[in-house]
């Protein structure tokens, strides 16, 4: 006890000594008149150099200023922690569980190709969800979270007229907001993929091949584009609907319909026009599924992360008869879903264009 007190006292003495030293140093700096002058002069010189190196009177790119501010807002927001937590927990848990399952059968499947990618596509035991399904399901929520009140909050805080009166183009505001949303979504997904890959490497003890990494990167880009559709959709709602709550509810409703019920709806509509089990029925189903970004994304995911997948079309048993199993190289897998990838990016562009036009045509006072 007495020893502890002694140590404490010594520590206090040391702190007091340091404080004295600092005060003395500051006083010394003040006492030397030249030093303060040098500091002021250096500051002035620095400022002059800075103003000279920057071209005079160049208007900043307004969207970049808006995006920077929005990104800072997103990174400080509570909603970032909510969606990151949701996505991170479910993703890591899924890969951890699947990793364990694969490990048990690993000796039997040591020659199996692209074992690493299996981590992401095998469903967790007793659930229908693999990692990719969870991302496809939760991803749109990210887009909605960072878009649903983008413009309506500016209206409700009465900052929009002031913002519009700044010397920037009107579209800088919506462009900046979209860029900031995409940036934060990209950061989150990249971090998630990195963490999940690390967990997978630790669980499985195998390192992904260069081709596996390439496939994962393309998957990452495509998924950001997919979430971009939802971000643009949420932005559109935030422009059209004045109340953020209404916009959030509408967006979540659309998310439910497209993410969970799309397959069911397609099956139902196809069933109305054709007889189930026929070739026409399957083809109609395939055509209808082009209407859902969720299904398009699912197809791209399948082709990218299952190298053995050779077609997304209808295959008759006689066509698959005596087919030799094998893997496609990454280029061929991408070629397989090239139309889907184009469609997804086009959908993002179209959705953003709709938001853009709505914003530009809207009166300041609504």
């Amino acid at each position: 006890m007495s020893r502890a007190t002694e140590v404490l006292q010594r520590a206090r003495g040391a702190v007091a000594g340091l404080t004295r030293l600092r005060t003395a140093a500051a006083a010394a700096v003040d006492r030397v008149p030249g030093l303060a002058r040098v500091r002021t002069a250096a500051g002035a010189a620095l400022r002059q150099v800075r103003s000279r190196t920057r071209p005079p009177d160049v208007l900043p790119r307004g969207w970049a200023v808006v995006a920077r501010k929005e990104l800072a807002d997103h990174l400080h927001s509570a909603r970032l922690f909510v969606v990151a937590g949701l996505l991170g927990l479910s993703g890591v848990a899924a890969v951890y569980a699947v990793g364990g399952a694969i490990r048990e059968v690993a000796p039997l499947a040591s020659e199996a190709p692209s074992l690493f990618l299996r981590l992401f596509i095998i469903p967790v035991e007793n659930t229908p969800f693999a990692f990719v399904n969870l991302v496809a399901l939760i991803g749109p929520l990210l887009g909605i979270a960072f878009g649903f009140d983008a413009i309506s909050s500016e209206r409700n805080q009465r900052t929009l007229p002031r913002l519009l009166a700044q010397p920037i183009h009107r579209d800088d505001i919506i462009n900046g907001k979209f860029v900031a949303g995409i940036a934060v979504i990209g950061m989150l997904l990249t971090a998630l993929m990195a963490v999940v890959a690390a967990v997978g490497i630790l669980r499985l003890g195998i390192v992904p091949s260069a081709e596996d990494i390439g496939r994962m990167l393309v998957y990452l880009v495509v998924t950001v584009a997919y979430i971009g559709v939802w971000l643009a959709f949420a932005l559109l709602l935030s422009i059209v609907l004045r109340r953020a709550a209404t916009a959030a509810l509408s967006a979540i409703g659309a998310w439910l319909v497209f993410s969970l019920l799309a397959g069911l709806l397609v099956r139902m509509v196809a069933g109305v026009f054709t007889t189930e089990g026929t070739l026409e029925n399957l083809e109609l189903r395939q055509a209808l599924s082009w209407l859902s970004p969720a299904i398009i994304h699912e197809q791209i995911t399948a082709a990218l992360l299952r190298p053995e997948l050779r077609t997304l079309g209808v295959i008759l048993p006689e066509q698959a008869f005596r087919q030799i199993p094998g893997e496609l190289p990454i280029g061929q897998s991408m070629l397989l879903v090239w139309p889907q990838m184009t469609a997804l990016i086009a959908l993002t562009v179209v959705m953003f264009a709709a938001a853009y036009v709505a914003f530009l045509r809207q009166e300041v006072r609504v």
């Binding site: 103003s51 002031r162 913002l163 920037i168 183009h169």
Partner: protein, 310 residues
């Protein structure tokens, strides 16, 4: 000195079937404070939005500093400081941070000194690092003015600058507006429906009702025009008011005498207060009150408004 900073000719703006502004002609001269006065929904804000190119005109021409706001929107917005009706700021950012964002959007270099300067100018230095969410309405309004001042614009447009602010806050804002004109030579257009609050700072006013500008001029001019070039004098006497009224009517220059409660109101051709005083005391009345009735803008506005609606 009299070149127009803002000039509007034949401006009409329709929202669907609703006509917000109708055939408006207006000029605001350099270095003056012009008050756009009218009830809510008269089209004041719509007119202001057309000046900034934030809404398209249906017909007519608008020029701000010789520029067309719909075509040279960015240049106009650079030269005009705008404080919108019930201006808002991001509640999670401090006053200083809010201004920093505006400075970046406006492309200001080395903005920190300028930000401190404008904060000082509007008297918000003490609250600069508190979150804007904690500001009172009056402080937000002053922050709005600071925000508009950042780029040192030669023209300032304030939409309803005194609404929902306590009297002390109103006085501060009016003093600020006056100093902007006198010390910085700014041209200021302000809109308000609270006429008595702003009449003292306005060099000229325009009465704006139902999308039309029905009268333009200085407060005194409008008052004179309303009274038909006459002066109104209030007289109060102790004792027999009706006898005093009869004597008052005999004073040369007095056209009409009416009794308003304890006061006698005389409508005169010019200011005949000395003659009235002499005549009444000469006739043995005890003069208690003698005052030339001032042209109160509220009165002017009500009169114009009634004339218009009748």
């Amino acid at each position: 000195m009299t070149d127009p900073v803002i000039s509007i000719q034949g401006l009409t703006k329709r929202y669907g079937d609703v006509v917000a502004v109708q055939q408006l002609d207006l000029e605001v001269r350099r270095g003056e404070v012009f008050g756009l006065l009218g009830p809510n929904g008269a089209g004041k804000t719509t007119m202001i939005l057309t000046l900034l190119g934030l809404t398209e005109v249906t017909s007519g021409t608008v020029r701000v500093l010789g520029l067309d706001p719909t075509r040279d929107a960015i240049e106009v917005k650079r030269q005009v400081g705008y404080v919108p009706d019930a201006v808002g700021f991001y509640p999670n950012l401090t006053g200083r941070e809010n201004l920093r964002y505006t400075a970046r959007l406006g492309g200001l270099r080395d903005a920190e000194d300028r930000i401190s300067e404008v904060l000082d100018q509007v008297g918000l230095t003490g609250a600069a690092d508190a979150r804007a969410g904690t500001y009172s309405r009056g402080m937000l309004q002053r922050l709005g003015i600071a925000d508009a001042l950042l780029r040192r614009p030669p023209v300032m447009i304030l939409d309803e600058p005194t609404v929902a602010i306590d009297p002390e806050g109103v006085a501060r804002i009016l003093a600020l507006i006056r100093s902007l004109r006198d010390e910085h030579g700014m041209t200021i257009l302000l809109s308000s429906h609270l006429l008595h609050q702003v009449q003292e700072v306005c060099d000229r006013v325009g009465i704006f009702v139902g999308g039309r500008l029905i009268a333009v001029g200085s407060v005194e001019e409008l008052a004179r025009r309303l009274a038909g070039g006459r002066t109104v004098i209030e007289v109060g006497v102790a004792g027999d008011a009706s006898a005093a009224a009869a004597d008052l009517g005999k004073v040369p220059g007095v056209d009409k005498v009416e009794q308003e409660g304890p006061l006698l109101v005389a409508v005169c051709r010019q200011d005949v207060r000395p003659q009235v005083a002499a005549a009444l005391t000469g006739a043995g009345h005890q003069l208690r009150h003698l005052r030339q009735r001032e042209s109160h803008l509220d009165e002017i506005y009500h009169r114009y408004f009634h004339e218009q609606s009748n």
